[in-house]
Structures are given as C-alpha cells and as structure tokens.
C-alpha cells in the first residue's frame, strides 16, 4: 500500500491520506460511483484523465464482504481513490456501493468533507429514462440542497430536476449536507440504466464544467465511447444487480403529493 501520512476512521470507514490535504475556497468534492448507466464512474474516470489530479489518498470499507483490494503495477490500493487538483477533491470508486453499506459510507463521506473544509459536494449519476433511446444527446438536471449552490446553478443555467425521488448515497448527500455545513448538488444525466452510457457521462461533465468553472473536454470520451462500453460490461452487470437491491430506478416516478 502507498505510504499513509494520515488515517481517520469515521463510522467504520477508513480514510487514508498520502499527504496533507488543504483546500482553498471555493472547494469542491466531486463524487461518482458505478450506478445507473455507470454515469458516475465513467464521468469521474474521464475527469481524472483530463484534469490529471494527484492521487492523494484512498478510502476503504474494512467490513466489505468479500474483502477486496485493487492492484496496479503490483501495488495494492483501497477500492476507492482520492484525487486532488487545486481546490477540487475527487473520489473514484472501482466498486458499486453495496446496499448494506450506503448509509454508513454516505454519512462518513459527509463528515470527512466537513473536516477537510469542503464547500460544495457534487455528485454525478445516471437517471434511468425511457426517453434516452430517442435522444442523441441526453438531458442533464440538477437537484440541490443549500442556498449557495442554488445561486450557482441559477447563474450557470443548469436545468433543475423538476420532480421525482432520488435514492441511494446521493439522497443522503442532499438531505443531510446542511447538518455538515455543506452545500450539495447532484447532476442527473438521462441514461440507459443497465447499459454503460458514456454519452450521458459527457453531458454530466459539461454541466460540472460550468459549475466549477473548469473546462473539461469530452471529445475524447465520445470518440472512445464504444470501447468504454465494451470494457465496462461486467461492471455494469454487477452494478445493475446492486441497484435493484437499493431500489434505484424509481427516480423518474412522480411524487404522490402534487401540491
């Protein structure tokens, strides 16, 4: 494992840092997991490739069954990696979050973000939509919690998610962020829920670029889309099974209350 400088255990989740992490304001934590259409995972992977951040840490879930570690060039690393570039932290996960771990993991991540003085937590995810099949370029919407991020989304003309339920870790990020003195938003890109969807990831990244004021090109992502889809077939199968357990796929359903 890389040499760990700082280690913190929050709610049983272990955060390891390979160097001291300090962020200038406005600071961001960008989070994407393998989920609907693998939008979050593909997005984060592309953002890291384009921005070239430093790998500054890792996150481990010690009670994960079966235990898993990822190896690169012989070196073992935790299943989630922490990257940093200037005022932006990013979390890249090699695994979908198991339904049984979503609660503790999400609260631990919010606590960690607060301790590192993050201002905005930005999640990227797919929104399973029957309309996706009819669109060359899918739409992206934002849900938010907090006045500062509301203002940013308005200034950058990011369309808001009009109505529906959000399930999984991003639900916790949205409803609990204020208790951790954070503003939070989730970018939801229309996607094929059970097929890897790099095109959906590209529209999410375009929206993110506007929010954080950093130009992140998506041309390469679109050019390599078919290879990315082939590469991620097995991960998509695994993820689809976990999403079914977590009840994902209900986002687009209307609310019972219509007032």
């Amino acid at each position: 494992m890389p040499k760990v400088k700082n280690e913190e255990e929050i709610e049983g989740i272990v955060f390891q840092e390979y160097e001291d992490i300090e962020l200038n304001s406005p600071s961001y934590l960008i989070v994407g997991f393998p989920d609907a259409g693998l939008v979050g995972g593909i997005s984060i992977s592309h953002i890291i490739r384009e921005m070239g951040p430093m790998e500054v840490g890792g996150i481990d879930i010690p009670r994960l069954t079966p235990p898993v570690v990822f190896v690169k060039d012989g070196e073992a690393k935790p299943p989630m990696k922490l990257f940093k570039k200037e005022n932006i932290l990013m979390i890249a996960s090699e695994i979908p979050i198991p339904a049984t771990t979503i609660q503790v993991f999400s609260y631990a991540l919010l606590e960690y973000a607060m301790r590192r003085r993050v201002d905005f937590v930005i999640g990227i995810t797919g929104l399973g939509s029957g309309e996706r099949v009819n669109k060359e370029k899918p739409s992206v919407f934002a849900a938010y919690s907090g006045e500062k991020i509301k203002k940013v989304l308005g200034e950058k003309s990011i369309p808001l998610f009009s109505e529906g339920a959000i399930l999984g870790p991003f639900a916790i990020f949205l409803k609990e962020a204020r208790r951790f003195r954070l503003d939070s938003t989730v970018l939801l890109a229309e996607a094929f829920p059970e097929l890897p969807d790099p095109e959906a990831a590209s529209v999410a990244i375009e929206a993110l670029s506007k929010i954080i004021d950093v130009n992140i090109g998506v041309q390469k992502l679109l050019e390599e889309a078919e290879y990315i889809r082939l590469r991620n077939r097995e991960l998509m199968k695994q993820t689809a099974r976990l999403m079914a357990q977590a009840g994902r796929g209900a986002e687009a359903q209307p609310s019972l209350l219509y007032t």
Partner: protein, 142 residues
Amino acid sequence: MSWEDEFDLIRSYIRRRMKELEKELENAFSSMHVIHPSMSIRPSSFDEPLHEAYETEDECVVVVDVPLLDETNVTVVAQDGLIKIEGRTRRAIKAEEIGYSVIRKEISRYYKEIAISRQCDVSNMSYSIRNGRLVIRMPKLK
C-alpha cells in the same frame, strides 16, 4: 382457535421469515462479488451483449448494446417468443484492448436470445442501429 394453534401459526411465520431472511442475505452477499476486467470471467459471456427492455403504453422496446457492430452484418429474427440477434463486429477486438490482462479471447461476433412478452407484436417488429446500439421496436397487441 386454541392458544396452541396460535403458537403453531407464529412458529410457522417465524420459520418462513427466517428462510426469507437467509435468502435475502445470500443474495446480498453473492452480489457483492466484484468482477474487474483483470479478473476472470466466464468465456461464454464474452460474445453476449448487454440489453435492456421496457414497455410503453403502445410499444415494446429492446435496446441491445453492440459496440463496434458491423451494421451490414447483423440478423434479427423473432421466433417462438424469442428475438435472436447475431452480428459481427467491424474487426476482432482483443480482450487486452479493453482492459482484460489475463484472458486471451477476442470479440468478433455477438449472439443473444431475448425472451419477449406475449403482448408484443413481433410480426410488426422493426429495428435500427445507432452508435453501436440496436433498438428493436414492436407495437403492442390490442
């Protein structure tokens, strides 16, 4: 109903619930197995594309993910409640090109059989291919 009967009912409910919980736990743990490109996969799954299917009020839609498909070399046939899809890729793609460092297979063809609901009118099936996705549409039988 006597007390003993009621206890039997409770006992049988608890036994049933315990079995359900065991099943749920088994499912939860089995789905945690992570497969990464560098790990082994069943060779039989290599040629089989992912798909998703859904129904609207008027039609049945099946989307099959067939990246790098040669659009001039694909057959889609509906037969006995199944849609059979066969096609070749534009070129053979070695497993190592898409991140599999251990296995030595390649993808040069796709084959998939998908069960279709009886409500879907396969005799009026149509399909299109865009960006390596095969979209099959069938009107719903009235």
